[in-house]
């Protein structure tokens, strides 16, 4: 019974709105614009977030970067060579840091590479441990990855990337071929995919890369140093713990006193992701504030027009009351009218917002292809629209409900 009566009230309100189509639309315009602009902003933000997180993801959210560094306070006292990571420190981390799954130091070399007549100078070469394959998510597309033997026996084997195949004019399948690195014979055992490092992380056009076992690299240039170590966290949600554990182990092994600063840096990509997420959250909150304000403005417009509607229809309200409409029903009728107006406005706003989102997606070079209105934004838009209707429809509805039937019928 109540449901039927409610449905009927809704139908009545809808027919009322339909009778005043133009005015209803103009009234809802505030809500439409508010919802449309904010959903578009949220969609663009979502797209941006997806893009940035995608960039992070390409490196790996679990990635941990460890390197020696001279703290500013000690700039004149120690040389940067004194603070470089040592192999035993890496081994210690590998053994004791339970939050790290894999760790591989990198021994960076700049070498000349030659095959037959081709000769490349100042090529970036890295000495790496087999764990590198687990840390860097780069697949071996041909041949095999490094194994423990390569490293321990300091074998003259190497991995190259496909850019190197191109530049050195090698066979499409160069496994087993031999090349000169820093004047020595090396056998190619595998090909690693060329990774397009995004511009965000200082990447650019892919370059020729050569990888040799860590031990071999140390042998090639004994006066070199560990450029950095890359690690892999066990758990993404554990970024701060991981950092703390690594710091504890390194500080202990370096014998740093409590008042002395770290002579190394530990960066976990996840902390940047967390930071970015909190910034994005902040922007979303600001957008939410904007939607509140625009809905407020829209709501005032709706209240105004509802008041006009109540005074225009005073006689009608009087008649409805005269034939038995209880105050509660009249209240409900006007409230439903305001809510319907707002929710319809919210719906149109979402449609317009979706069109704007499509437009945003196609902005060339904005990297917002992933822009999409998230489900929660749709839900919030509807809830807020309906809330606006209730909030701003209440006053006119109460006014209508409290009209005296006789005075209302006498109204001109």
């Amino acid at each position: 019974m109540f449901v039927l009566r409610f449905l009927q009230t809704v139908l009545l309100a809808l027919s009322q709105l339909r009778a005043n189509k133009g005015r209803s639309f103009l009234t809802a315009l505030g809500v439409i614009i508010g919802v449309a602009s904010v959903t578009a902003v949220v969609a663009a933000l979502t797209g941006m977030k997806e893009f940035v997180l995608g960039e992070f993801e390409s490196v790996g959210a679990k990635y941990v970067y460890i390197d020696g560094t001279v703290p500013p306070e000690m700039e004149n006292k120690v040389s940067w060579l004194d603070v470089q990571l040592q192999l035993d420190e890496i081994d210690e981390l590998a053994e004791y840091a339970s939050s790290i799954e894999h760790i591989s130091p990198q021994w960076r070399l700049t070498v000349d590479v030659a095959v037959n007549a081709e000769r490349l100078q100042n090529v970036r070469a890295l000495g790496i441990r087999p764990e590198w394959h687990d840390v860097e998510t780069r697949s071996v597309i041909l041949g095999r990855p490094f194994n423990a033997n390569d490293d321990q026996d300091r074998l003259n084997v190497c991995l190259i990337n496909d850019k190197a195949i191109e530049e050195l004019n090698l066979d499409k399948d160069p496994i087993g071929e031999s090349i000169f690195i820093a004047g020595r014979h090396f056998q190619i055992v595998g090909v690693v995919e060329t990774k397009a490092v995004s511009a965000m992380f200082g990447g650019g056009t892919p370059q020729t890369e050569v990888f040799v076992p860590f031990g071999t690299a140390m042998k090639l240039n004994p006066r070199g140093w560990i450029n950095m170590a890359g690690g892999m966290m066990r758990d993404t949600s554990d970024a701060e713990n991981t950092k703390a554990e690594i710091r504890y182990i390194l500080r202990k092994s370096r014998g740093l006193k409590p008042d002395e600063p770290d002579t190394f840096v530990v960066e976990v990509l996840q902390t940047y992701i967390d930071q970015f997420n909190s910034i994005a959250g902040g922007i979303t909150a600001i957008a939410g504030g904007v939607v509140s304000i625009s809905l407020l403005v829209g709501g005032v417009g709706i209240m105004n027009i509802m008041l006009v509607s109540v005074s225009e229809r005073t006689r009608e309200i009087g008649l409805r009351k005269a034939v038995g409409a209880r105050p509660g029903i009249v209240l409900l009728q006007f409230l439903v009218e305001a809510v319907t107006l707002c929710v319809a406005g919210g719906f149109i706003g979402l449609v317009v917002g979706q069109l704007l989102t499509l437009a945003v997606q196609s902005i060339p070079g904005a990297a917002l292809d992933g822009a999409v209105i998230p489900g929660w934004a749709i839900a919030v838009a509807f809830i807020f629209s309906a809330g606006t209707g209730v909030l701003f429809g209440m006053f006119p509805a109460i006014k209508a409900a409290r009209l005296d039937p006789i005075e209302a019928l006498r109204h001109e």
Partner: protein
């Protein structure tokens, strides 16, 4: 007993000014009566009707409708009484301009507890009863004044009220149309409907069984129609006028035939 009114007072307040519209009215109206309320302009007829129709509340006094003390009711309860017990016909029809005849007649059923599931059927029946079976889908602007008032009467009847109240129902109609509406009221009364109408016209009051006259918010006479001195005088005068008119017509006719014969 359908209606019992005891020592009813109504005082309107406009700023500091007070208008004493009803000053202690006592009336009883039984089931199936046809009562006319008469009186000079400003005597309190509409004020009384609005209270009878539960559209307004008395300042003081008691109004019992079918045993229920309406002067003790709140707005929602009064609305329910208006819906169930009362059919009100206004001088200015008060139809919704955008709604068709059927939709207008359905209005009380929409707010009725009994449910509005059979509303359309009942509304059509009510329209047939007032002789508008062929105007169901017409809007008020597409109908004559008499037809509009018939729609209003159908709306007042549709929920089978215990009393039908009409405040100058023919005030906006010409005499022929008024006569039609009154014949309709009489037919309804013959079917057992209790009716109270307010009117200025003695000929309209002539259709009733009882005339209550008001002056300055008081009942000055309450008699069966055929015993009401004012009404009787009017009837005699009207008969005399009719008589002289008939005589004149006859003499004109006879002179015409005489002239023709000459």
């Amino acid at each position: 007993m359908t209606i019992t009114i005891r020592q009813l007072h109504k005082v309107y307040r406009i700023g500091d000014e007070r208008v004493h519209a009803l000053r202690g009215v006592d009336i009883e109206i039984k089931k199936n009566e046809f009562v006319a309320i008469m009186g000079a302009s400003g005597s309190g007829k509409s004020t009384l009707m609005n209270i009878l129709g539960c559209l307004d509340k008395p300042t003081r006094g008691a109004y019992t409708l079918n045993g229920k003390p309406t002067h003790k009711m709140g707005a929602a309860e009064l609305a329910a009484v208006r819906n169930k017990e009362i059919g009100f016909v206004f001088q200015s029809f008060e139809l919704l301009p955008r709604a068709t005849a059927v939709q207008n007649v359905m209005l009380p059923l929409i707010y009725s507890k009994k449910g509005w599931l059979g509303a359309r059927r009942r509304a059509k029946k009510a329209l047939e009863r007032v002789g508008l079976g062929d105007r169901m889908g017409h809007r008020p602007s597409q109908m004559s004044g008499g037809q509009r008032q018939r729609v209003a009467v159908a709306r007042a009847l549709v929920n089978e009220p215990s009393i039908l109240l009409a405040d100058e129902p023919t005030g906006n109609l010409d005499s022929t149309t008024s006569e039609e509406i009154l014949r309709l009221f009489k037919a309804l009364h013959d079917d057992g409907q209790t009716i109270v109408i307010v009117t200025h016209e003695e000929d309209i009051a002539g259709h009733s069984e009882r005339i209550i006259r008001l002056r300055d918010g008081r009942v000055i006479s309450d008699l069966p129609t055929h015993q009401d001195p004012v009404h009787r005088e009017w009837v005699q005068k009207a008969a005399a006028t009719l008589h002289t008119m008939a005589a004149q017509t006859r003499s004109v006719e006879s002179s015409q035939t005489a002239g023709a014969g000459a």
